[in-house]
Symmetry: C2
Subunit: 138 residues, 2 copies
DNA sequence: CAGTATCCAGATTGATACTG
DNA sequence: CAGTATCAATCTGGATACTG
């Protein structure tokens, strides 16, 4: 994408009242379903470790409460990203696995993890500089 | 990270007390810097429309308040993803642009937007099914 | 224009129980 | 085990008004 500096209309004003109109971010829909508060770690864990039970998820996610885990799981199930399987036994057993749709996010996770590994150092360095020198202009 | 399904100890229990240990999600660091609440739309807009002033961002983002926009901008600037340029004129003029580091997120945005465009319909369909039939197991 | 200062409403989380 | 139910503590985020 990215025709930088779109030519817009022929006689478009340059800077004054340059017809700046609201545009919707095209990635937002994905953010809502897969990158909200706890959804990413849940999906990521499911994608990495395969089918697992409620407690396994709870432990691996480290620090999530059952209430919140249930909420996220329900949302992901409703959105078709996660499949819940109930086994009527005693004690009850429920397994969660990522759906085929959810699995299509795998490459994205990989790319994101790679970005983090490669660039997070730069981010931290930038913070140090910013906190030392402060912002230049008023 | 990395070694999926670590063999752990030789005589590792299989399912009973299968040494389920907390693992940290490798994409979380990126989420914190670029995919928090308003950060993505801001970065995306900057990436799509190039260098622009505060009000332009404010208008294009549609509905964000100056306070919140300032907060996100400051965070992004601190993290080295956005560059702020102050022009000492009257009236004051400040321009924001995405940094080179921030620009490395471009392909990621493109991939995410593509995913949304391709699969969001399946998500919505899954919701309809779920809301009609409800979840199968108790 | 480019913010900053307040105050407030709503959403998310966390900690703690308590069932089937 | 696999949740659900509550209540309290946060934490953004929104609306509004006000400077340099």
């Amino acid at each position: 994408m990215g025709s930088t500096t779109t030519a817009s209309s022929a006689t478009a004003r340059r800077s004054a009242t340059a017809a700046v109109v609201p545009v919707e971010c095209t990635v937002t829909p994905l953010l809502d379903v897969a990158f909200s508060r706890w959804t990413t770690p849940v999906l990521w864990t499911l994608n990495e470790f395969g089918r697992q039970r409620f407690v396994e998820l709870e432990r691996r996610l480290g620090g999530i409460t059952p209430k919140v885990l249930t909420q996220r799981l329900r949302q992901l199930e409703r959105d078709g990203l996660v499949i819940r399987t109930y086994h009527p036994e005693v004690p009850p057993r429920v397994e969660y696995e990522i759906s085929e749709l959810g699995r299509t996010l795998g490459p994205l996770f990989a790319t994101m993890a790679a970005w983090a590994q490669e660039h997070i150092g730069e981010v931290e360095a930038a913070r140090v500089v910013y906190d030392e020198d402060g912002r230049p202009g008023p």
